[in-house]
């Protein structure tokens, strides 16, 4: 497998006359933490859906984990993890049951599965909660669990769509600790977020505006380029020109 975890060229998605994603081209290297930023309605979620095989692109090329998104979408799914904005875990199943289910789906053999499950529960400190329904868990723990389940099968790339939305700063920090742990092991992290301070945690960052990529570089370089004191300001400068806001 080559060095490029994700590669797109002129990737486009249109719905009738509306271009949700307009010819984006970029590359993400293995082991990179890549921040995919943009205002609501800029096209981030659509882009992720194309990369994870949920939506078929209208035109353009893309490869994820070395597989073509058009022809080999199902193969891609073995090598990726996904944490969606809306949902990741079954609310009416317990912590243990969710881990068991997703591990099993990804083909982990039973003994490994059991071991991993115990490992994970211990790591997250959820021993007391293992038989609690996910919907009864506080949001922060849910998100951490969702992330852990997403990477249970050790995928090469994990896609995170607004994973820290609505969560307190301490939990966010803990969450990013988990992310770093996986990144250190070589996992590629593709994360979208609203929190600009999190952008600083990424190796490189791209900012989408009105369906296209308006900027792509490391946070340091971007701040310099836009003569801004923070990523917040960079974002503000770019997003100000946007014509599309909420979906």
């Amino acid at each position: 497998m080559n060095d490029r975890a994700i590669w797109t060229q002129d990737l486009t998605k249109r719905f009738g006359d509306f271009y949700a994603v307009r010819g984006i081209s970029f590359e993400v290297s293995r082991g990179e933490i890549f921040g995919f930023l943009g205002a609501n309605g800029a096209g981030k979620t659509t882009a992720i859906r194309m990369l994870t095989g949920l939506t078929r692109p209208s035109s353009g090329h893309a490869q994820v984990a070395g597989f073509d998104v058009y022809r080999e979408a199902e193969k891609i799914k073995w090598h990726i993890g996904y944490m969606s904005q809306r949902f990741s875990l079954y609310e009416d199943l317990t912590v243990a049951e969710n881990i068991w289910f997703f591990g099993g789906i990804y083909g982990l053999p039973t003994r490994t599965l059991s071991a991993k499950r115990e490992e994970l529960i211990a790591l997250l400190g959820l021993e007391g909660e293992r038989n609690k329904l996910v919907r009864d868990l506080p949001l922060g723990w849910r998100q951490k669990l969702a992330f852990s389940v997403a990477v249970l099968h050790q995928p090469t790339i994990v896609f995170l769509d607004e994973p820290t939305g609505g969560v307190d700063p301490l939990t966010r920090r803990q969450f990013w600790d988990l992310i770093y742990q996986e990144a250190t092991k070589g996992m590629t992290i593709f994360v979208t977020t609203h929190y600009m301070d999190e952008a600083e945690y990424c190796n490189r960052v791209s900012i989408m505006v009105d369906g296209s990529i308006a900027a792509l570089d490391s946070p340091v370089a971007l701040r310099e380029q836009f003569n801004a004191a923070s990523m917040d300001e960079v974002f503000y400068l770019l997003a100000r020109q946007a014509r599309r806001t909420e979906h």
């Binding site: 199902e74 799914k77 996904y82 969606s84 289910f101 990804y106 329904l133």
Partner: protein, 368 residues
Amino acid sequence: MRTVWFLLIKEFRQIFRNPTLVRIIFLVPVMQLLILPLAADYEIRNITLAVVDHDRSSASRELVSKIAASTYFLVASAPATYASALRSVEEGDCDIILEIPHGFGRELARDQNTTVMIAANAINGVKAGLGSSYLGAIINEFSGGVLVQHRKVRREGIVVMSVNWFNPQMNYALFMVPGILAVLVTMMGSYMAALNIVREKETGTIEQVNVTPIRKHHFILGKLIPFWILGMVVFTIGLIVGRIAYGVVPEGSVVLLYGFVALFLLSIMGLGLLISTYAATQQQAMFISFFFIMIFILLSGLFTSIESMPAWAQVISRMNPVTYFVEVMRMVILKGSSALDILPQAGAVLIFGVVFTLWAVMNYRKTS
């Protein structure tokens, strides 16, 4: 295949963690099976009669008491005029009016012809038809009896000796139980899987499945199997209730019955699945399902016979899997029909099942 196992475990856990759902799935069919067959009775009985007797002779009174003696009729009132009798029909207090003319007894004694009038509330055409025909038969017998009395003519006539097979007591409940059970299983089978899948679409949990390498036919199996099992359980409970409450014991092979039900459930669930691929919300799924199921149930021959429908309706009825289900239930349970007898029905249901399921599988896309 291992995937399916994990899917099944998840599905069952979710179902049983939902107590309302479980209650609905099991209680509703049982309650309906207990009560509804009692209500489904076509038998012509207790037809209320208003007799307008202008004659008041011993002959007319004799005729009326003969009618009153029959189980078919209830002589409810004796209004003085036809008009007031008509009013009671209007108000729903009476089904049929019998008007006996003045001079009835006299003419009868003189061996002259005399005419009585029957006016029936024909909103329910069959009830009116049968009711007036029974009434006519009783009057005819009375008339014949009078003639014999006067020794005008020998007792003449063709007597009908009738025998009833398979249900000699003419027990309607016996007839309805298999049919109602069929309808209940149908509703369960088609609604449950459809609603479940659409709920996942609506809440978005289906995306979490679509993003995994789960193959689409595994996912579909994982949805069908639990509800198929539930359907079979409901059917079993239904048979038990039918046995305990109504004494319905299958005349034919129970194995055959189960085999057919298994096939039918797959078929009707295929329809539910198909509907779920077209519906975006649970509300849509519900309406679409109800639309089809209602047509299926009413045109299945459950309550009204198929042969009496116009040709085009019979065609629709033949394209309706529930028709075959009701037929087979009645044939095997009440008449002890054999596998050979129900082969055509099984074949039809199989074809439907294959068509629905294939169509649904083709429609279902993990990538939109």
